[in-house]
Amino acid sequence: MLKIEDLKAKIDNKDILKGLNLEIKPGEVHAIMGPNGSGKSTLSNVLSGKKGYEISGKVTFEEKNLLNLEVEERAHKGIFLAFQYPLEIPGVNTNIFLKTSLNAIKKSRGEKELDAIEFLKLVKQKALDLKFDEKILSRQLNVGFSGGEKKKNEILQMSILNPKLSILDETDSGLDIDALKIVSEGVNALRSKKSSFLIITHYQRLLDYIKPDFVHVLIDGKIVKSGGSELALELEKKGYENFN
């Protein structure tokens, strides 16, 4: 599904990613762990198409070159990024934002757009599945949301947009244990043969709840070691230093 070959990324003349290789197949859950400044967030930004990076290497998504696509075109193809810091957009109702987003994606695929009633039905069901308070949906997008509410909202958006590849950028940061559980359950509920996940995190604790198929250790812009979920435990014990 996603294939990254010798990916290098630079910002302000500083090398961040220094030759990264990774392949994610449909239905797989990959976790990338690494210390601060190792290039984790850069990886999620580059994959979702954020501007400002000088990039070389090759990234394909479903056998097609991803790097020449705009951010929204990647979203249309089924790439979703759950933000580490979801943005506030004052005056914009969360429901309306979600509906606009869903319909933009549907439109790009030539599918029928949902009307208000169909959409509300869908969103109510998803909120119920994820045990989210649907009151959140009638508030302004992320305005005045607690850290936990913002992250839950990202997961809800993910479940409604139903992406092929979900990238979770430190979704666990700033969450208390209860919120962490709810978010993880949300992700687990979305796991399927068709949808893949790339989970980026500092800590092992998220992986107690979301069991990855593969764990990769990212240090200084390169994957230095890959393994199964046991690698996360090893990391937690030894610390990142011993992987250098």
Binding site: G49, E72, H76, L87, I89, V92, F97, S101
Partner: protein, 486 residues
């Protein structure tokens, strides 16, 4: 292949939207007054409209005063000197010479023009329950739904007709809120105004439909000086909306209207404007000078006047829809969205004059500037010594897009009463790249993202518009900002 053709279609759609779609010219024969501004021309206008002597006297008195006045220049947007002798002050479609008695007799070219603008004049093709008065250059060409309104005693007609048929009302109220001696542009209007709408709502009547006037400038080198007068008698209610467009022309055209509102005891007037005059091209060539005087008088106790404006067009917008809160417990409101893009300029805001006791006013202003444009909010809150317990709340928010535009806020507050309460809040913000990235990541393209964020910013004001127009206004907001980012 399929996606490619979809992209092509979208690109074409965007290209189409970027153009000012109201910029066409109607090829129609007109009757004009001789060029220039003098007593002859004023007499010509008055004569062609078969006005009574008192009306001509009103005009001539204003013209005498006008000759002594100087054009103001304290405003922020400067403009090249206007040669008032080089303009036409009256232009009307020739076919209106013998006034058509019904819509069936109206020149098909005029009907076609309004159809193209999305304003159906044939009542069978009507918008849901909205009565329209259509003003083309200097004259009103059609008013719809007259019969239905007349049953309730409501008068909704062109100003010219009101002067003929309801002289007692016009005589009493015309110039009572904006006197002929007021200021340069208002006085010019009093001397040469041509047409506009007249509304009278009788006692205790709630007007059953939205009343709407649609202004269209067509002829070149022509100023449009319309005059609107709305009177809401005791206990009545009316909601009124005006829309404006003009063809794309390289010259600047002057639009100097006067609008007077009078609300008697317990009456309420809601006045909404969606102004989309031609803004000029992207280099700032051409466009309308929109120098308008709008003033409402809350004459009676418990009366209310509410101005809502969406100002997206014009090369220069220079106006301050105001409320004089004379009656005790009266309320004045001003909700504004002003958008400037490319080289447009705006100096707009409101004046709330508190004279009566327990008077309240609320000002919500949202200014959005993009491109090389410049936006000014200028407002006055004036509380007189007799206005015990007067209250004002003002909120002015500015949104900047890009780094070549400007936003300014100048609130004037004059308070002569210690028992009053005045609040002022102001913010300035920018659409951040991060916000755009977030929206893009959710599948919205740049234009959709900007439109969503801006509509969120303007929400409080958009909510004030009558339902039928809120959607239109939202689209207009998006179109006005096309191409301003990315």
């Amino acid at each position: 292949m399929k996606t490619e053709s979809n992209i092509d279609i979208r690109a074409k759609e965007i290209e189409k939207l970027k153009k000012y779609k109201y910029g066409f010219i109607t090829d129609i024969e007109s009757i004009r007054a001789p060029k220039g501004l003098n007593e002859e021309v004023i007499r010509f206008i008055s004569k062609i409209k078969k006005e009574p002597k008192w009306m001509l006297d009103f005009r001539l008195k204003a013209f005498e005063r006008f000759k002594q006045l100087k054009e103001p220049n304290w405003q922020k947007p400067k403009y090249p000197k206007i040669d008032y002798q080089d303009l036409y002050y009256y232009s009307a479609p020739k076919s209106m010479d013998d006034k058509p008695k019904s819509l069936d007799e109206l020149d098909p070219k005029l009907l076609e023009t309004y159809k193209k603008l999305g304003i159906p004049l044939q009542e069978q093709a009507r918008l849901n329950g909205i009565a329209v008065d259509a003003v083309f250059d200097s004259v009103s060409v059609a008013t719809t739904f007259k019969g239905e309104l007349t049953k309730q005693g409501i008068i909704f007609c062109s100003m010219s007709e009101a002067i003929q048929k309801h002289p007692e009302l016009v005589k009493k109220y015309l110039g009572s809120v904006i006197p002929t001696t007021d200021h340069f542009f208002a006085t010019l209007n009093s001397a040469v105004f041509t047409d506009g709408s007249f509304v009278y709502i009788p006692k205790n009547i709630r007007c059953p439909m939205e009343l709407s006037t649609y202004f269209r400038i067509n002829a070149s080198e022509t100023g449009q000086f319309e005059r609107t007068l709305i009177i809401a008698d005791k206990g009545s209610y009316v909601s009124y909306l005006e829309g404006c467009t003009a063809p794309m022309r390289d010259e600047n055209q002057l639009h100097a209207a006067n609008v007077e509102l009078i609300a008697l005891d317990d009456a309420e007037i809601k006045y909404s404007t969606v102004q989309n005059w031609y803004p000029g091209d992207k280099d700032g060539k051409g466009g309308i000078y929109n120098f308008v005087t709008k003033r409402g008088l809350c004459e009676g106790k418990n009366s209310k006047i509410s101005w809502t404006q969406v100002e997206t067009g014009s090369a220069i917008t220079w106006k301050y829809p105001s409320c004089i809160l004379k009656g005790d417990n009266s309320i004045g409101e001003f909700y504004s969205i002003a958008i400037t893009n490319n080289h447009q300029k705006a100096d707009t805001g409101t004046k709330m004059i508190h004279l009566g006791k327990n008077t309240k006013s609320k000002i919500i202003s949202k200014g959005i500037s993009a491109g090389f444009s410049d936006m000014m909010y200028r407002g006055l809150v004036d509380i007189s010594s007799k206005a015990d317990n007067a209250r004002n709340f003002t909120q002015c928010d500015s949104l900047l897009m890009g780094n070549k535009c400007g936003a300014h806020t100048i609130p004037y507050i004059k308070n002569k009463n210690l028992q009053s309460n005045i609040e002022h809040e102001a913010t300035t913000s920018k659409i951040s790249d991060e916000q755009l990235f977030y929206c893009n990541q959710r599948g919205l393209n740049q234009e959709e993202a900007v439109s969503l964020i801006v509509n969120g910013f303007c929400k409080e004001v958009l909510q004030q518009l009558p339902m039928e127009f809120a959607v239109e206004a939202q689209k207009l907001v998006a179109i006005s900002l096309e191409g301003s980012v990315g």
